[in-house]
Symmetry: C2
Subunit: 331 residues, 2 copies
């Protein structure tokens, strides 16, 4: 069904009108591995780039079970009630080829799913984190051109996906549970340092006391880190996605960050740096793909790696030999 893909013009017109179905179909092209679709997708991205809006991109991470979906339901619904248009995207490198695993279960966001002011898109699938992240990043551009003011990018609290999301958002939020005293355990290396805010979720009922204790522990822990380049001091706040307490304060905090970082020039600067970063990331990934796909490299690689491991050859000599195989293969 839907064999006919709309023309680039039709898609662009739809996106700029805020037509969700056209936006969704354009994102499908972004996510496609079909070269023709990709070509079309890049035409669309190119055109969307010039439609700059005053948007806020917020990254949200946390381990499974921390309540990311319910937090997004609560936070996102508050924003749409305020008249904002909210897009929810995801980066999940564990998603299978057939279906994204986070945001896939939309039953956890019953209100937002039916909210015409909200657009929810599960994680694209992909062979690699780099591929998944690239597609999400490009989808952000499309959503912004479609008039979405606030982009929430969800990611799972495992692996390197946080770094990828951190490099595409303005504000990065780490969700934590108020648990039974072990809330400081199991924080992924480096995540604390990226966070602009730590939000302790499920601070409700009997949990409130524990959540407050966790909050002061995190505040003390954050003290160990040097000041951020943005000059923003990361905050630790408690909230309940269930009863909504603390949720408006989080939005106020994000706004305070935006005002401060726009005034200092960091906000714009950071986005430019992110663009440059993605440019060089893409260059290097394309270059490496080309290199490692070269048949002569494929053939020589594993035997050389084995030799390096067993100290039969130095890493440098082995690398030289692999480069030589590449050059020979190109000719």
């Amino acid at each position: 069904r839907r064999k006919n893909i709309p023309s680039t013009e039709q898609l662009m017109e739809g996106i700029l009108k805020g037509d969700q179905s056209m936006l969704a179909r354009a994102i499908t092209l972004v996510e496609s591995t079909n070269p023709e679709h990709q070509e079309k997708a890049y035409d669309i991205i190119e055109q969307c780039l010039s439609h700059k809006n005053d948007t806020l991109r917020i990254g949200i991470t946390g381990v499974p079970g921390v309540g990311k979906s319910t937090f997004i339901e609560s936070f996102g619904s508050m924003l749409t009630d305020m008249g904002k248009k909210v897009a929810v995207l995801a980066v999940d490198p564990t998603s299978t080829l057939s279906k994204g695993s986070i945001l896939g279960d939309k039953t956890r966001m019953p209100h937002l799913v039916n909210d015409p002011q909200a657009f929810i898109r599960p994680s694209p699938s992909g062979e690699s984190l780099g591929g998944v992240a690239r597609k999400t990043r490009e989808s952000i551009i499309l959503c912004e051109a479609a008039g979405y003011d606030v982009i929430l990018v969800e990611t799972v609290g495992v692996g390197q996906s946080e770094t990828a999301v951190h490099s595409m958002v303005d504000f990065f939020l780490l969700l934590k549970l108020s648990g039974a005293g072990d809330e400081l355990q199991g924080i992924k290396r480096g995540i604390m340092e990226m966070a602009d805010a730590i939000v302790i979720n499920k601070a409700e009922g009997k949990n409130i006391k524990q959540a407050e204790r966790a909050r002061s522990e995190f505040e003390r822990a954050l003290h160990l880190y040097p000041p951020k380049e943005s000059k923003w001091s990361p905050k630790v706040v408690c909230c309940s996605s269930l009863n909504g307490s603390g949720i408006p304060e989080i939005w106020k905090m994000v706004n305070a960050y935006a005002i401060q970082s726009k005034a200092s020039g960091f906000f714009k600067n950071n986005r430019q740096n992110q663009n440059t970063y993605w440019f060089y990331q893409t260059v290097e990934s394309l270059l490496q793909r080309q290199f490692y796909n070269e048949p002569s490299v494929k053939k020589a690689m594993l035997p050389l790696q084995k030799d390096v491991e067993e100290l039969r050859i130095s890493p440098f000599r082995a690398a030289e030999q692999l480069l030589a195989a590449y050059s020979k293969g190109l000719k």
Copy 2:
């Protein structure tokens, strides 16, 4: 002076005999940018690789002023007194082309400098951290072939140099000062997570109390991190490089680590992974060097970057164009 470089055979013979002047001259070849010297250096490295010894590589980092040199003087002298041969190398990407800046001031290690069981080599110079780190890593191979049992690799507590050193050592030691309550401030992002031990230096006289306080603060902070892959729980210890207190305990700790990680297989596995890591690092750096040195790439790069920053083109399209310029240039 010394225009005549000894032959590869002479250098190898000297290294294997533990001749410091031959070792130093071989390292000079490793550090040279002259292609002929490099060729010779790689022949030597190749041959040294097969002379495996039971060595320990210890990384030492800390901000300027923390007392790295005096610590190395104290720790290294104790080791040579025990009959060990100790090599002290450095990774300092800020070193100028003319002279390494750390370990350059050998007056801080009066004993070790004159100790025939010790070999001290300032940081190689280089255009990039990658280059400096590679040279130091290769010098480790040479020192080990020359019979040095313990390799100390010093680095400055700034920038990405710790990561580079961490990926070439068995044990990573973070030196801290027992200061006036601000000892937890200013720890570089990620360094705490790499440390196998935090050593609070200058724990002497009036400082002892402060040092103990700092120790418990660090212990609490280390609790925030997940277990290491090595299963080693990082330790926090106090020492005085001045009066030697705590120094023997540090050596005992490093040995306990070695015994534990050798028994579990982590030690060997880690070195193999480091070799593989350096192989692919080298492949990618050679590939990138080749790419960015291509005149067609040089010409197209900055205008494209500017376009990306200003959103006139998407990072992906720009990357494609740069790759196209590269392919065209190669033909």
